[in-house]
Amino acid sequence: MTGTSAFFLRREDLVPLLEELAETLEVVAPVLVEGEAAFATWRGGALALDCENPLASPMEFFLPKKEVLFRYVQYSGRYTFSEDPPRARLIFGMRPCDLQALKVIDGIFGADLPDLPYAGRRRSTIIVALNCTSPGEGCFCRSMGSGPGAEGGYDLLLTDLGRGYLVEPGSPAGVYILRAHQRHFEEADPEDLREKERLLALAGEEIIKRGPSLNPEKIREAIDGVDWEEAGRRCLACGGCSLVCPVCHCFSVLDQGVPDGERLRCRDTCILSGFSRMTSGANPRPALGERLRHWYLDKFVYIPEKTGLFGCVGCGRCSRVCLGEVDRWSLFKEAAE
């Protein structure tokens, strides 16, 4: 078995393969939770692979909404600290847009002064990605260059060919899985690779057919022309967009417990009014419109300056949850092609 070739996994072999992997790793996969597809620890049974990409992105397993940074225990005025080691985990079914989000976060949390909790999880997570052959309604990954086919960033890449999956390794860890579980895999037929290209091209056309695409360069130029004060009046400041965005990563830190306790890190969002407010009461971005503008500037100007990648991956989740019509479709109609 060589590292560069492609393989075929029969449909009925997927669950047995995951069962084997789950013997040594926590396997996270899209499953139905109360009728909705969500990434969760897989405990056997059916996978929710024929649904739209779950609203809660798998970034949760790299930057959890709430995590313990460390525990402190006091003994006669001195402290001892403990941190949890990262868990060995495999994420199955991660879509190309979310893979792109991971690359963006690598450029922020993995660079300069690396964020150790993130870096630890990144190192101990195996990614089995799934190409998007049936994109969701609000997806515009094609405009953002993040899909529907994945380019790198995975250990294994699957493409659903109907009767089974085309499997391509993207890292030594991926090759190792193919070797260790080789009884489930057979060499792919060259026709399977052509079928993959055909399906991805179809998916790309499907995305275009569903609606105008939003050129990120045009959005960037359009930001200054938006009436942000007016947009601020429509926005409900619920923070829903940030909660579902796989690139949003604002956080807050707080302690719980005296004299022993935990220092927690929780998701936060720059959309909320108190986000930048100082103890003195001074607030550098008091108006909601200003905060919305900052949200878009960060994704389309500042993050690209820092990482070379757009801070929006075209997953469309923010539009799915926006109740105030301040999502990109409403704000940047003119930037649509």
Partner: protein, 293 residues
């Protein structure tokens, strides 16, 4: 020897226009423990705390920093907040100046000698002390913003001949709010011109009353490089005044204050446009942030 090394560190750390955290290592969010070894009362609501790292391996933290850098200070159970370093790396101990503002600063001020605080850092770029050498230096502070400038003033005082004319102007609300009053004499002895002013007159005050800019009119500093820290209104007024005197925007350095949760450019609380005040700052030159403050 210590002073020479600190000087080199400080010169190497500070000064990049858009710098990054200097002494900080890639690390987790675990603080080191520092013992409070001394507490001075600077004003009714401000204490100067001297800290000593408890573990030998952390000792360098107490000298490896630049004037203008800050620490994330923890009171376990209450949380962590950014506090600028008030001491100079040329002098031990490491000191922070804390004014009562919220629950964490109250927690820091409730500490007694022998108590333990957590510290992470130093973070931020610091003043460009390397490029300030050989120049006239004007230092202007307002209110509690003076704490970070005291680090720079003592740094300059300890290496005085490397700098040309040095002028300090400092304004506070009332004479009760003045910090570091016992040190003004030593600064003057080091040939640093010191001007102090208060907003509100009281019986014990015999000095100037008025804005910091009124001191500039009196002292008439020669153009060179400037370090500013204080309320935005004061910063704008002083910067405008200095530009009128022939100072240039890239030589006016401003220390900014923002809400922060991480200190390492991740949490996004301190963003100011494209900059993170924690890693790109907190020292910015006026040409970079003039229209943002």
């Amino acid at each position: 020897m210590k002073m020479d090394r600190s000087k080199k560190e400080a010169d190497a750390n500070g000064g990049t226009k858009i710098g990054r955290a200097a002494g900080a290592k890639p690390e987790s969010y675990l603080p080191i423990q520092a013992e409070v070894v001394d507490i001075d009362v600077e004003s009714s609501n401000t204490y100067l705390l001297s800290l000593r790292p408890m573990d030998e391996e952390d000792e360098l933290v107490a000298v490896n920093y630049s004037p203008g850098q800050f620490l994330m200070v923890s009171v376990f159970g209450l949380g962590e907040c950014p506090i600028s370093i008030a001491s100079s790396p040329t002098r031990e101990p490491l000191q922070i100046c804390v004014r009562e503002a919220g629950k964490i600063t109250q927690g820091i001020m409730a500490a007694r000698v022998g108590d333990v605080l957590g510290i992470r850092g130093p973070f931020g770029n610091g003043f460009p002390v390397g490029s300030m050498r050989g120049k006239n230096v004007l230092i202007a502070g307002g209110g509690s913003g003076f704490a970070t400038l005291r680090s720079l003033i003592n740094y300059i005082a300890d290496d005085r001949r490397d700098f040309r004319d040095v002028t300090v102007v400092y304004g506070v609300r009332t004479s009760q709010d003045l910090y570091f009053t016992s040190e003004y004499g030593s600064w003057q002895a080091a040939k640093i011109e010191v001007g102090i002013t208060v907003d509100m007159m009281d019986a014990s005050w015999k000095g100037n009353v008025g804005l910091v800019t009124s001191l500039l009119a009196d002292l008439d500093p020669v153009p060179g490089t400037a370090a500013l820290c204080g309320p935005p209104m004061m910063i704008r007024a002083v910067a405008r005044d200095l530009l009128g005197r022939g100072f240039i925007e890239p030589e006016i350095y401003i220390s900014l204050e923002r809400h922060m949760k991480c200190g390492v450019g991740k949490c996004e609380h301190c963003t100011m446009g494209r900059y993170h005040v924690c890693t790109n700052g907190p020292i910015f030159s006026y040409d970079v942030v003039g229209d943002l403050i």
